[in-house]
Symmetry: D2
Subunit: 303 residues, 4 copies
């Protein structure tokens, strides 16, 4: 059984349905979803990690870095899109009262003004709740602006799809389980780490980045998060290109482990976008193998 950051009908729910059709439980906070994994109540949970507009999801980053160890198994990148959903039979021209959440209202304002100019837009507690309300035949609302999944969940018709004014926003969700062997490398993987500096020393961040660059490992994301020990004390949440079993990344992670304060390994897993890293000459698996073979020949030249 899987958990997700709910309620039912949210984007996390929609993201989960892209790869899972078993039983699923919504949790009202990210922390509760992750703790349900820790306690064994669910096998894994899907939670948001970052958003292209808002940045990292602090509660997820902090919980994974500081709580009892968990591991990311896969990721889903979902377009943040909205549909206009109605009770079956309602036409666009009939829509008088729209219900949605304030964020969704803000992101579809222009479309609504242009396409249902006659409608009043009301802001409620959640987009999923709006869909549920609209599904009630006695509701005073004609339409909900909500995630596609919420429309389906409550038996509504999608009279307009993908109505966000600025399309392109995405949220990245991660499926988190108890620690286990990472899935095997696919050639297009991502590795998530939390790295603590040894102390708040000048140059420690530069040293951390050098550990990656000297092994030809590129970073996709780096965010500082307070350790809560006071202003100026940080850890870094990082996504690196590649898999911990790739020799360049293995060497970088081992280097970090030796010279940084602490390294928390949070998983290596396939990238949802299937983008393989561009690995510079000298950093490919073949380069590592060739160098290792050469090393053997110089320390045992008689062989």
């Amino acid at each position: 059984m899987f958990g997700y950051f709910g309620p039912a009908g949210t984007f996390a729910h929609q993201a989960l349905l892209t790869f899972y059709d078993g039983e699923a439980i919504p949790f009202v906070t990210v922390s509760r979803a992750l703790n349900a994994v820790r306690s064994g109540e669910v096998e894994a949970a899907l939670v948001p990690l970052e958003n292209s507009v808002e940045g990292g999801v602090s509660v997820t980053l902090d919980n994974l870095a500081t709580g009892k160890r968990l591991m990311i198994r896969r990721e889903v990148i979902l377009d943040v899109q909205f549909d206009l959903c109605v009770r079956p039979g309602t036409q666009l021209g009939d829509v008088r009262q729209v219900l949605t959440h304030s964020h969704a209202a803000a992101q579809t304002r222009d479309w609504l003004a242009a396409n249902v100019p006659q409608a009043v837009v009301n802001e409620g507690g959640s987009t999923a709740g709006a869909a549920k309300e609209v599904s009630d035949p006695g509701s005073k609302y004609d339409a909900a602006v909500c995630a596609s999944v919420a429309g389906d969940l409550y038996g509504l018709d999608h009279i307009a799809k993908n109505i966000a004014d600025n399309p392109g926003a995405v949220t990245r969700f991660v499926l988190v389980s108890l620690p286990a062997q990472p899935p095997m490398p696919t050639g297009a993987d991502r590795t998530t780490l939390a790295v603590y500096l040894k102390q708040d020393q000048p140059g420690a961040l530069l040293e951390m980045l050098t550990q990656f660059s000297v092994r030809g490992v590129n970073l996709c994301r780096i965010e500082s998060r307070p350790t809560k020990a006071g202003l100026g004390s940080y850890f870094f949440s990082i996504d690196a290109e590649g898999h911990i079993r790739d020799p360049r990344l293995a060497e970088a992670v081992l280097g970090l482990k030796r010279v940084m304060g602490d390294v928390v390994f949070l998983g290596s897993y396939p990238r949802a976008d299937r983008v393989a890293p561009s690995v510079a000459p000298g950093f490919t698996d073949a380069s590592f193998a060739a160098a290792k073979s050469w090393y053997g020949s110089v320390i045992n030249p008689e062989d």
Copy 2:
């Protein structure tokens, strides 16, 4: 006239009162406060920049980096503390119903259980609102958990002060005005920048940090923020030790301006904690002056 992130009785309000006793207007969002500066409605506004527990305040970082240029003039670091405030005459043993905000309730739970075990804790919309409610003689609530300023504002008695279970959390606020000459260096200054990488190229962050380190400039804070152009596109919000008129910091900022995508200067101003940077040999003002004098002697040796 100054603005602040309100309503009246918040920590921002309390922070403003530490240095300003003129007329002040609360704004309900950080964006509105900053736009009031841009429009000239207020001369300056006090807004939160970072918190030792929650990290950077995204809305402030993003608004300053991307909106019409503003400049930080000073900072205030405020302990996030709560008082238990009552109508005059109420004793600790009389408190039966406490009103506060859910965050404040969470941060004072142990103290309340130990000191007013008989009381029920109710969660309302804001700590300032709780104080206002309690000030009403007909209220069913006996006490509010709120910022000190809110107790004063509504004429309450502080029957217990600084009751947070885990003291030490602080919030850093900044006073923002239209661009102007930075205040003169004091020897213990901070400089805030937003730096955009030239493109999403491997090594660009390392190069950025090297611009600082090679001039002996330490960073107090660095945070990545999405540029909203898609996952993986970031700018960096940075606080550096020192003043833009310090030669080491001037050279670093000039170096960034030349090699990075863009640099937004957001102000040099005295540190609230008055901590002077420890400047390594070779990076003091005297070192810069001595090197410059030597340079003159080698290009004009006959002088």
Copy 3:
């Protein structure tokens, strides 16, 4: 009056004649030539600095770095080539006895075997001395392998020119005077420095190179030389692309002066090969000027 590393008829003499036809005095050692500049006996002296086969000329590097300050004014790069020179009237088939120096014999062995197979090759003290000897009508030697200038000096015929077996070797000579204003930048200049590390500390060489790279300055030559204080104590003799008046190089040299043990400026002068440096974006004079202008605008925004 100019001096050069002699005797008359050497490559240094030949290099001097490429740009100077006034009175010139040969000195038997590099040190004597440079000390004659220091004492005012000559206005300037031409000495070898590096050779494409043998590397840096240690005595020149050490004398310039450690003796009373001098300055390089110009450079000459000379092909190390040999001619076969005879008394007027001698034909190639008549050559029975060849005189030259052992180095020159080694570098022309194949040509001599192929073209004057009947001749015995004798090794004497210098190629210039060989030419002088051959010019004596009573000499038992028919031909000298020597620098072109030596053949001319002693009135010999060049019956074969450029006979080195492996052409392409060059020597770089420098004209050294007392310290003076460097010649103005030409856009294709070289700067020579001697840099002493602060102490024999790990990472100091890396730090030195970073001072150049962070300002986009490329190095043409870097050599370690012992300070004579014991194994493991070095200074670095460096040629950098560009002129000390170029802003990127000025900033690099100032940076070295501040953080290294000592910097000896030995001159900025036009490159003999007229190769202009490829300056990366962000390091051109225009980039420096633009950044400076921006800096003025942020510290004086009202202007």
Copy 4:
């Protein structure tokens, strides 16, 4: 049978005798000594590698880096010292004619002037030759300034020992054999490498040094040598602290092999001075082992 850079009675001979009393053959050049190893004529040869006053011995550095592969097995560091040697019976006051080599004369000038003011100092071809000449009862010379070994070799009395004016100069000699397994690590080892940059690209030297520094490996010696392909084309002759079997050095050498043009491993061998490297935290063998163990636990957490 061992070879050495001769003739008999030189410092190389003296250095060889510090650890070897078998049969030994002198060779007149370093190249001939090394080629005798390559051809199997001798098992190993002792040649000078660097001198604290003159720097690296170019012919040795170049021959090892570019010729058929050889390997350094051990090193000897020898004080460059001179004795005044006479035929048995001669007293200091009797010395009228001293014979030596010009370098030795220069380095003992003050001592000779103070202690045998009546003597004329004559410069001959070598200090060993001077000792041989003085050993002839019919010689017109009374005394030789020579290496201690030469006095012994020719049956002379050492009437004064260690007469160099500036004591402290040392030469480091290396014993070179055909490639073989390096001797086991002793905890105070040195590793010699020749590293070719991939092309003459800006930043390649910085990248090379970073390969060492990021693994906490310090360098004892670094020298650039021309590749003979023209001005500006170099390889680097390097001595690093530690043994190629030390994990930090192994990783550094493997890194160089991958990203540099070529790496020639010239041996790991005990330091003559027995100085153990100061290894920073994070770079000890124990740190490497701990990180490797951690790595195993994160990729196989169920174990």
